[in-house]
């Protein structure tokens, strides 16, 4: 630190900035988010905003900022370019700071958004998972853990160097975590990824294991079937550590770990995925002309994401393939059922991401309402195929649990069209909470209420000309003209004497005044409290909702296959445990869409 005298604000800034190396710090000052020094130069260039200077104890510090309401616009832009961004807010009001004798308000980082860890709808694509992956090298073995915090998925695996490429190609992480000491030793191939380094100690000892059992509140990881994956646990611990650090919240929607088994799936190397243009085209990296662009007839965001995962990881064993094919066949043959299922699925929201936001607390009443409406669709979906014969469809129906209690409670609590903000009231229904109704009544009808008190007092005391007035010095008061002075009841407290009248207050009137004046604030606060209660209640069902979302996603993928097969005239393949591949009049699924009919038939048989 230099000897120059800094302003208190800049001292606070430097202190907080020092805690988040490698991160752009957006520092809330009044109605602006400001950046200073190198951050300012970078941000002004990336966002095209003006770079100015700020006097800092005689020094000129570069400064660039934008109004606080532009955060949703600017923050995603920075993160999309691969930067990590910490938002530092004022954690108290100027009044509170003054009371506590501080010259400047307290500030703290409330959330860090990184390419791989975000719940922001502005950054996520609805039909694509956003994975972060953590790698730990232990000799020839590499421990791998990956998560999509927006859906609550958390997988572990252990691979060798050769399998790692294929795994990375399957997961396509937005961010890769590695030990700090490996930073300069990485192979060139890694530089295509967004690398974040983590302090070495996080990867040492049993810190990772402890972090995991602490989070999952278990004694071991046996229940997840990953107890043996010791190297992967280290990577998983570091990943959880990082996600907690950035989100600044308890990630209660991360409910389970699972072992990501490469052996169950067909192996596709990165070149093959590229060459076959499964999800990205070789031309521009877009989705035009890709397999997924033809195959995606899913109706929900969960289904869209699962379809991508399925296509990137074909199966290798006959039984599960046959199960899927039979389910597709059934949905293919029953057009009416498929059409109805599609209609019902269309109205289901992104349950995985909704429940993630609800668990972490970055949510609002609209999200809860979406959960309610989506859950309400489930009986309708289920009734369409519950009696079907196929094993997989039966299994899905079984997993589509009805959460009537969640649906009911949200429906009873939240109004039909709630606002976006959770701090400004108007979310909670009338008639739910006695105190809230009362406060609202007071806030809304403050004047009427005072008028009623006036009538009441005037009747009790027999003073017809009794008035209730208001001034800034002592709030609501009762005014009695000198003519009726002798009728004033004893409990009136005299406050002021005028030429021809006296002004009084009563404890009751003060109570009412307090109620009226603060009613609005109090009703907002109470609504927020009730909302929080409901949010935590729903969050308790995270596990169930995630399972329902998974079952819906599977159903959606299967109906999508059936729909595509119907539209494009596909045939059910026969899968055998044999050497031969025999394709009669095969067509290229993408090319057939762009070539005239007679021009696209190839007949082939080979072994």
């Amino acid at each position: 630190m230099t000897a120059r005298k800094q302003t208190p604000l800049m001292r606070q800034y430097e202190e907080i900035k020092g805690q988040y190396p490698g991160t752009i710090l957006l520092f809330r000052v009044g109605d602006f988010y400001e950046t200073f020094s190198d951050d300012a130069i970078l941000v002004s260039k990336e966002l095209g905003i003006t770079l100015t200077k700020r006097n800092n104890g005689g020094d000129q510090t570069p400064l660039a900022g934008f109004p606080y309401h532009a955060l949703d616009n600017y923050l995603p832009k920075l993160v999309k370019r691969g930067y990590k961004v910490a938002v530092c807010d004022q954690t108290e009001s100027p009044e509170e700071a003054k009371k506590a004798g501080r010259k400047i308000v307290e500030r703290d980082v409330t959330e860090i958004t990184t390419p791989g860890v975000t719940l922001s709808e502005n950054l996520l694509q609805h039909n694509r998972n956003n994975y972060i992956i953590s790698l730990f090298w232990a000799g020839p073995l590499i421990g791998v853990a990956f998560s999509d915090i927006s859906t609550g998925e958390f997988g572990l695996s252990e691979v060798n160097e050769a399998q790692l490429d294929s795994l990375l190609a399957a997961i396509q992480p937005s961010e890769v975590l590695i030990q700090a000491k490996l930073k300069n030793k990485l192979a060139d191939a890694f530089h295509q990824f967004n690398i974040t380094t983590i302090d070495d100690w996080v990867f040492e000892g049993d810190y990772g294991y402890k972090t995991l059992i602490d989070h999952f509140k278990t004694h071991s990881l046996k229940g997840f079937g990953v107890e043996e994956l010791e190297v992967a646990q280290v990577a998983a611990g570091a990943l959880l550590h990082y996600m907690k650090e950035t989100q600044k919240a308890y990630l209660r929607h991360l409910r389970r770990l699972y072992a990501y088994e490469s052996n169950e799936f067909m192996s596709l190397d990165p070149a093959t995925k590229r060459n076959l243009e499964l999800t990205t085209s070789m031309q521009e990296g877009g989705t035009e002309g890709t397999l997924i662009s033809i195959m995606d007839e899913t109706c929900t965001a969960m289904g869209g994401r699962l379809l991508r995962r399925w296509i990137m990881r074909p199966l290798k064993r006959i039984t599960p393939i046959q199960h899927r094919l039979d389910a597709v066949d059934e949905l293919f043959a029953n057009h009416q059922i498929r059409a109805t299922i599609r209609e019902e699925l269309d109205q289901i929201g992104d349950l995985e991401r909704l429940i993630s936001r609800i668990c972490v607390g970055r949510t609002n009443a609209r999200d809860l309402k979406q959960i309610e409406r989506s859950l309400a669709q489930i009986p309708k979906v289920k009734s369409q195929f519950a009696n079907r014969e196929t094993e997989l469809l039966q299994d899905i129906a079984k997993r589509l649990k009805l959460l009537i209690e969640v649906q009911d409670r949200v429906s009873k609590t939240i109004v039909d069209e709630p606002p976006i903000s959770i701090r400004d009231g108007n979310m909670i229904r009338e008639g739910l909470h006695v105190e809230l109704d009362e406060i609202r009544e007071i806030a809304r009808n403050g004047k009427d209420y005072i008028a009623r008190i006036k009538d009441q007092l005037s009747e009790e005391s027999g003073i017809p000309s009794l008035k209730i007035g208001y001034n800034k010095v002592f709030g609501y008061y009762i005014e009695v003209t000198n003519v009726h002075k002798d009728k004033v009841p004893e409990h009136f407290i005299r406050k002021q004497t005028l030429v021809n009248a006296e002004r009084y207050i009563t404890p009751e009137l003060k109570e009412v005044e307090e109620k009226v004046l603060s009613a609005e604030d109090r009703s907002k606060a109470l609504e927020y409290k009730l909302f929080e209660e409901l949010r935590l209640f729903v969050a308790e069902y995270a596990d169930d909702i995630q399972q329902i979302a998974q079952a819906l996603a599977q159903l959606d993928c299967l109906q999508s296959f059936a729909e595509v097969a119907f539209k494009n005239n596909y045939a059910k393949p026969e899968i055998r445990d044999a050497e031969h591949i025999d394709i009669k009049k095969g067509r290229h699924p993408v090319v057939e869409k762009s070539l005239p009919l007679g021009n696209r038939l190839y007949q082939m048989t080979f072994c």
């Binding site: 393939i321 199960h323 597709v328 494009n568 031969h580 591949i581 290229h588 699924p589 190839y602 080979f606």
Partner: protein, 273 residues
Amino acid sequence: MIITGPNMAGKSIILRQTGLIVLLAQVGSFVPAESASIGLVDKIFTRVGASDNLAAGESTFLVEMNEAANILNNATPRSLILLDEVGRGTSTFDGLSIAWSLAEYLHNHAPVAAKTLFATHYHELNELEQMYERIRNFNVQVKEHNGKVIFLRKLIPGGADHSYGIQVANMAGLPEIVINRAKEILSNLESHSLDITNSNGTVESKAIQQKEAAKQLSNSIEKQSEIEQMNLFATHVDPRLETLINKLEATDPNRMTPIEALMLITELKRVLG
């Protein structure tokens, strides 16, 4: 399975569609075909085209060989391998030799004897069918009509006799003077038929005999005039012509922008002096 056929006839599409159909089947989807019976596949490998990864700064040929090495090291008999124009990134003779030995390796080596679709415009590779039991030739059918090529987009058994590269170049709009000159060069080269067997010491003598017979057969089919045999690496062709052919063969008009085509023409003219 070796697929021959001219450029633009759709060899690459056949390769890709086979990969995609197998993949879709194992994902659990129906497939774009009249019917399909799929023997389970554990891995799919592709080596398609020569244009990707140029941005990474590696030479095309190096990328190609890296990927080929990956395939040979990791394939199993249950794998599906799709090879498109392997060897096109280097000179004709090098490329042909590599393609040839790759095909042999994939056939002979039990641990990697995978199902392989090998698309090539080296119709010399068709001779492998005569030598190896499990190698089959197919070709993408084309019709030649008034010197122009009509693509029928049908795959039929048997090898292609012709690469039609010059006709395709014509269709792509190369100036007539270049096309005519290329035709001259081609007929020159064709009269110096290539001999591959002599260069390959590892092939058993029986195979050599078989291949000799096959070669006779294919030569008679092609009605080529048998002139002196030419050793693979001892060429006495005008080096300028070889450069020209190499450049033309390494070119895929499908993947060229008009500017690239113009640049190629300029370059070809410069080679010719």
